[in-house]
Symmetry: D3
Subunit: 238 residues, 6 copies
């Protein structure tokens, strides 16, 4: 049995709070159970140098964890003088996922940076980040429309993500930390709201996985994604 009597294919309670902080153009606190990530979207009318003059926009992301988001304290990356490999990997994934649902050419020379800062970490921080960042980005684009800087929203739809895993024979959806540590295979799936795949990253931590197991993981992810997408839409409808 999973913690809190969760069914194998059940995602944790999802809570998406918009306008969580006052200054960002999009500010979302996303909660997947005990995992809490603050996603702040910033608009800058200035693209990276290599993109200047092409009339296109850019979307990027940064990721961080507060030192005590975790059970024991993690060293502050600013103090150690560099971002670790895990941080870089995650922020690159978030940024790619967001760009996959944006028509960069329709943005004009504007850059959106979404900062995903983990307040509390109980597994699935990267997938929660993507799911929350999509909403924060939507709010940022809306503010550009309201201020007359954009005519229409360049987002092609929402993007959301979930982790799934194999624990022994069981396929579990939306792993929390204790499950994630014990899983043989851990897979992060990023999808569009119409169920197409943007990113699939499956890793065998213990035994390699078979084709059939991969299929089962994807099916579980697909179901989880549809619940997350619904939560995103509900939050934006408020």
């Amino acid at each position: 049995m999973r913690p809190n009597d969760r069914a194998a294919d059940q995602v944790r309670p999802i809570k998406i709070t918009r306008n969580y902080t006052a200054y960002a153009e999009g500010s979302v606190l996303v909660e997947f159970g005990n995992t809490k990530v603050l996603c702040n979207a910033t608009i800058e009318e200035n693209v990276p140098r290599w993109l200047k003059g092409q009339g296109k926009g850019w979307v990027t992301a940064e990721y961080g964890m507060l030192p005590r988001a975790t059970h024991t304290r993690t060293r502050r990356e600013a103090a150690s003088g560099k971002q670790g490999g895990r941080t870089m990997e995650i922020q690159r994934l978030i940024a790619r996922s967001l760009r996959a649902v944006v028509d960069l050419k329709a943005m004009g020379e504007i850059m959106i940076t979404v900062d995903c800062d983990v307040i509390q970490a109980d597994g699935g921080t990267r997938t929660a980040s993507i799911s929350g960042a999509s909403v924060a980005m939507a709010d940022a684009f809306q503010s550009l429309i309201e201020s007359g800087k954009l005519k229409k929203n360049p987002m092609k739809g929402h993007v959301s993500a979930v982790s799934v895993g194999l624990l022994g024979k069981d396929v579990l959806c939306d792993l929390e930390y204790v499950e994630d540590s014990a899983a043989d295979t851990d897979m992060n799936v990023v999808m569009t709201e119409d169920g197409k795949m943007i990113e699939v990253q499956g890793t065998a931590e213990g035994e390699p996985f078979s084709h059939e197991e991969l299929m089962a993981l994807l099916e579980s992810a697909s179901k989880g994604i549809s619940e997350i997408t619904a939560a995103q839409k509900a939050a934006l409808a408020e």
Copy 2:
């Protein structure tokens, strides 16, 4: 007139939420108006190398700002590869202030690190940090007592801090961002709960200040501190 019709000697509404996150031994969200700082205290049974074997404890602090805590985005220090001078100055101040109210010899070889991370910044982040960190540290010591690792609390009392400033002829207490930017003199005062001074840092940003002005600033700070101390005690009484 001050924003929100505040009186010159009035501090902003103070809110202190304990157990804000789940894993830290002390976790406090402190709010001074729109300034919000998360103060997480971590206990480690391990002192810095230079202190080992002396039977004494240590208290330290780190400070950070989320990139979009501010009106425009600030570059992430982890990405730029170092903590700036302002960050270092503030975290050294927080740490000294906390140590001033702790009997390090009575702690045993334990280290407490308080991470102060600014979620939203509207002036006075360092003074809010000190005021919140004192409560988080108290909770951490309480957990050591409850687990039987300490017999009595090594804190000699609370420490709190407030900023005061001169705006033209006016002495203002607990400056928010727009006031802080305009002030001629800005002073941070750190005090014990019985009104003695731990740290006084006054800086003339515009005109130098006179002895009389310094006296008026200290008087205003002293009144503000007593309100903050009351809020700390109320929070811990819950």
Copy 3:
């Protein structure tokens, strides 16, 4: 038609040269067409600090590209003062892939580091690195057996990797640089010699991909992997 009249499911000519340099315990130059990576395995009788005293071994990897492995010169990471996100991501992937086929408990407190340095880059450097590193690691374990430090080889089998991609409607195996740049979806697949999956990383660079496309990509990868595995075995049989 693909460059050099390759069929869609055909891998490039693979060449695996063992003992390429003189000092490493395993030294392999792996070539996938014009992509050339030198994989040097080093044995150290010393595990990372966090693993000491557990009687287990460790396998890790580092990845680098010579500045002019690419069409235009890439800045030397040693000169810029840090390894980029792409480098970190790749070396973490190589290391995980290698560990997936090793029984760490059977190694004793020994560490193997495989350095994968790209001499020439024409797409697929990470998959070539994994495929070559597996052979270099095998040679390193063999040297431990020959010197009497290990009784039996702790490798459970070979690991190899290939990239596959969607270019329009076509599923292509083992992408070279011009194909990789143009592909809508790029997927790296790491497998054991008996066809189980260790790592699957698919990314939509353009349009999101469907479940059917994912299936087709995996099928193509599986066929490519079997050819690479054969090349690894042939090389080790020499």
Copy 4:
């Protein structure tokens, strides 16, 4: 009794040597007893980027200690790859203090950098630095007047600084190293030549201090400052 039979309110012998090195536009060796700091002012016709085009100038400062300025060798900051928190705190203080006595708008787009390098450290290096830097800056402005680049001196007066402290019940002025280490409270006071305050930084190292003690410290500082100001004027009159 203090070392060298100093009275409690007596500053150490002050020596200010102008034109100490040959190339800087202002070069001052300032000595407060055994504390020796070389203050070199550099003129550059180039302001920081964020100030360009506003017709205003800028004054900044950097601080360093030779590795063996101290009783035991301190690690060279250039070798450890970053400036420590104490260094940053001090150089920010020096720079603010200097700017407080300069009319930046009257400078034109010129930047003055004062490098304060401690040759020998026996307490009070930051206050000696400020006191010496004021003279070096005055010489640099004079050279701009002589070369016709400025019509009149934009300095509003001199700035000087002194440390005062509480050792038990005693208020001591201009602490040397052994006194500083033992003091309960240490306060640095920066003043204009007409006795107004630019910066007041008091820190309780041991017991918190009372309002009365603060008053006594300020009075002692004020007397010390007047002697330092006199030394600055005498040096510039030569």
Copy 5:
């Protein structure tokens, strides 16, 4: 007797392979016995900022060693976050040596960077680097002539380098690693093809050396250089 029955004044077998990699404008693998260095020359139509607008070109070099070029693994400089002193010293030497045989004014505003990466290190990597880089640079200039960007080759001749050393009473030419470690004096000599000196760097590792010994070392170097020059010319004639 030297390893492989080499005579005291005999250089190791030299092999210079041009077009070793596919993309660099000049790509040379140079081998001095077991020492193997890949020298890749890159052309960029862009000079360093301080040289812009003067109509002159620039030649620079970078040096690196693959971690397992050596008998035991050397830490990767990209991972440790900086280039060591030895690396910097060597790349500055290579760059100076190359510039000494180029008429920078005749190049136009073009920059050539030669990357010397050591694949296998058995002593004399810096001298092999210089000798190989000269050929790679020659090929790069030739490509500029062929593409019509230069009318004539701005090289005044070849540059080559050799190490010589004193081992007891013996003067040895082109030291390999075991000899280099044991030598009392080690000297690197860089010469033009007509026997003039560009750089002489002699270091007493054990006993200081006399004027007569210096003369003997230079004579041996001069003979070695003539053989290396011949090998360079033969390679370019192919």
Copy 6:
């Protein structure tokens, strides 16, 4: 004619001031004309890790330039976050030169670090550093003898250094900055007091140099060295 009517083979006025600062075990200000370097020798009873337990000592050196030692301000290396290639090259040369005259086995497990900090730079800072550091090191060893930690001085003699150069046809000894900038060839020579060579580093900045020119440079250096050695001995005799 040279500046100040110096003859071609004449060194600048040399001044060696011992006990220049108060805390270092050896503290020497060395002046070669306008070049002034402070050389502070520190004794630590602690050798580098790789040398521990061998009963041998170590001598090392660090080099730095105050930002305004030069005609225009040089960026502070502590602020830029790393030591440049020139700094590393020089401090490695100073350290090798000092070790060449010390019997490390006779030192016991003691380390001497000589910090050479350039107060004013007018050419020849590395050669002045070596010449001054030799005296500072001698004083440090003397203090070890006086404190009973060493029985006899492990120095085999003094080491000194001079720069010589070719300016057109002229061989000049002890170049000052304007000469150094204009020289075709610049050579630094480090010698023992009995005229044997420790290090010879000759570099053609313009035209390559011939064997005859090298001979003339060495002869001039040899004469200069004897004068510097005399100044060292005179200083130590005081």
